[in-house]
């Protein structure tokens, strides 16, 4: 029983880390309909900036997160303006080509600027070390990641469902022409959502860095994982992504506990089963 709890906690933590990193991709893919394979690249940029801010500039963890998120968004603005704007509404394969191209560039540049070694983002004292839960100990940063996941989910839900921006976003997504004729400046809406998505990516890259360490090939290494999580959840659905992350986290973690040798089979068979039963993802929109 204790083992079940223990594995469950691990699953929850892993799922939440996945959620924080992937949710931005769910926004770009579901709401803006861009197959954004460069999502991991933005997460990686966030991680690098945070690492640089803490290690070299000596900033605190919280400040570093802020600097990294803002910095990544600033880097992303011209990318959105000159590259992404050209592929909104383009065929999927074109989007794949463009975003893989962007990923390659980011990897190459990161390799050049920061070198090929692993980069860490030192945690503040409070998040270092294990926390005793009574029946087991868990890393404090994992609890932090879980909290971040909950906070991000809540904030996004509020933003999309309860604010006027959310209304405009949903309108632009459902029918861009109609939204434009109603006075919504869809270009701005898209740019802002893209910035939000990129900011979330950067945030996720930092919070998840303990599990998915920052190095130049980060952007390619985890690309598939993010893509799978988003499509299993249903692109554009926040509760869907949350559910998918928890479910896949549970499958992955328990698979790796029970039958680690076949962990990979477990995971991908589950993905196939879920996608076949829910072709639009667990909670995908029907359009």
């Amino acid at each position: 029983m204790q083992t079940v709890f223990s594995v469950g906690i691990d699953a929850l933590a892993y799922g939440m880390v996945l959620f924080v990193i992937s949710i931005g991709l769910s926004v770009t893919m579901g709401l803006m309909r861009v197959v954004n394979l460069a999502h991991g690249a933005f997460a990686m940029i966030g991680g690098y900036i945070a690492s640089y801010a803490t290690q070299t500039l000596g900033f605190g963890y919280g400040v570093a997160i802020l600097v990294a998120v803002v910095g990544t968004i600033i880097i992303a603005i011209p990318v959105e303006r000159f590259l992404y704007r050209r592929i909104y509404g383009a065929p999927e394969l074109t989007q794949v080509l463009m975003t893989i191209g962007i990923t390659f560039c980011v990897i190459g540049i990161a390799n050049y600027v920061f070198g090929p070694t692993l980069k860490t983002i030192p945690l503040p004292e409070a998040l270092r070390g294990p926390v005793d839960l009574g029946f087991r100990s868990i890393a404090a940063h994992k609890l932090f990641a879980i909290a971040c996941g909950v906070a991000v989910a809540g904030a996004l839900w509020f933003l999309i469902e309860k604010t006027s921006f959310g209304v405009k976003l949903r309108a632009s997504v459902d029918n861009a022409a109609m939204a434009a004729s109603l006075g919504v400046r869809t270009k701005i809406v898209y740019a802002v959502s893209f910035a939000v998505a990129v900011g979330l990516a950067a945030f996720g890259g930092i919070v998840g860095a303990e599990l998915l360490p920052i190095e130049p090939y980060y952007a390619l290494r985890y690309m598939v994982t993010f893509l799978v999580v988003v499509s299993v959840g249903g692109a554009g659905s926040i509760p869907g992504a949350l559910l998918a992350c928890l479910l896949l986290g549970a499958i992955d973690t328990s698979g790796r506990y029970l039958l680690p040798e076949y962990g990979e089979f477990f995971f991908y068979l589950a993905v196939i089963a879920i996608v076949c039963v829910f072709p639009r993802g667990l909670l995908g929109r029907s359009k």
Binding site: E92, T94, G101, I107, G108, E264, Y268, V275
Partner: protein, 335 residues
């Protein structure tokens, strides 16, 4: 493609040789380019052979993606299945005749085509992409597990094919392998031209453009696509077998997501829906990659990335597709 079909159909009796001539010209161009490659880079035949092996994989993706509209990031499963099938046949069952090995590879690829097609065709769009990724990972993992047969991550080595027809041994300079590869690609090109123009090929194009209409015509969409997957698998399998024969080893990379994605990128780069696009995309990507990585092994990835972005911005229909559009426009102005 469609444009060619157009003109050929105008006055059937008179223009039917027209496409035949065009195909023969196309084949002649391929062979001429192959010959130029041979004389221009006599010391790089191994690379050229490798390009041709991958070209078969890209042609095979074109069959399902370009002609049927199926999105896949897992096509290396078919390529690797062919490579392992012929490699295992050679190492464990003593089938070392290169032609037989190619046949075994084609069968292996076709079987993998049935399996992965059955899974991938259950989804559409993003779901389809994810299913294809899952499939290629399962194939990869299965090969890793079956190390008694596949050699696992160390690779399957010890493949030593006999001379072709008992006469042409595979030599150090890779001349035999290159000739063999050119022959396979030329044959595949001709066969695929025939298939894409056949009634079946027309049906596939119809499915790509409007599957609902195809159903309303009483044709089975799933059945047709699965059949195309089998053909595509056979082509990819031949590519895999060629790889196994020419390099005499098979590694897990031949079943990887990376290879699948790279091959798809090559196809989109060249232009989907055209066999020429597939060939041009493969040759230009791999040549460019080899050239840039030799020139600057540390930062070539950035340059390749920039190339891909440039293609999307300036040649959105791929190199061949955009060139054709340009040509059509030019011709249209001339009229």
């Amino acid at each position: 493609m469609a444009a060619i079909e157009n003109t050929s159909a105008a006055k059937p009796a008179a223009t039917r040789p027209n496409w035949l001539v065009r195909d023969l010209v196309g084949l002649a161009v391929i062979l001429a380019v192959a010959a130029i490659g041979y004389f221009l880079f006599p010391n790089n035949l191994a690379l050229l052979t490798r390009i041709l092996g991958v070209a078969l994989l890209v042609l095979s993706i074109d069959l399902v993606t370009g002609f049927c509209g199926v999105a896949t990031l897992g096509h290396a499963a078919l390529f690797g299945a062919g490579a392992y099938a012929s490699g295992i046949a050679a190492v464990h069952f003593g089938i070392t005749d290169p032609l037989l090995m190619v046949v075994v590879g084609a069968i292996g690829g076709a079987l993998a085509g049935i399996v992965s097609g059955a899974v991938i065709l259950r989804g559409h769009g993003l779901a389809q992409l994810v299913l294809s990724i899952a499939v290629v990972h399962l194939f990869h993992e299965a090969a890793n597990k079956a190390s008694a047969y596949t050699g696992g991550s160390d690779g399957l080595s010890g493949i030593s094919p006999d001379p072709i027809f008992g006469m042409f041994a595979f030599d150090l300079w890779g001349r035999t392998a290159y000739g063999f590869a050119v022959a396979l690609v030329a044959i595949a090109f001709v066969v695929l031209r025939l298939i894409t123009r056949s009634p079946f090929g027309m049906l596939c194009r119809g499915i790509k453009e409007d599957p609902i209409r195809i159903r309303a015509m009483g044709a089975s969409v799933q059945g047709t696509l699965l059949k195309m997957y089998v053909i595509s698998g056979a082509v990819a399998g031949v590519g895999g077998a060629l790889n196994a024969i020419s390099t005499q080893v098979v590694g897990l990379d031949s079943l990887s997501f990376t290879l699948s994605a790279e091959a798809l990128v090559m196809l989109v780069l060249g232009g989907t829906g055209s066999l020429y696009g597939a060939l041009i995309g493969t040759v230009s990507f791999m040549w460019f990659e080899d050239f840039v990585s030799a020139a600057n092994p540390f930062h070539w990835l950035t340059i390749v990335g920039a190339l891909l972005i440039a293609v999307v911005l300036f040649a959105p229909r791929g190199l061949y597709g955009s060139a054709q559009t340009l040509l059509d426009r030019f011709r249209g102005d001339g009229k």
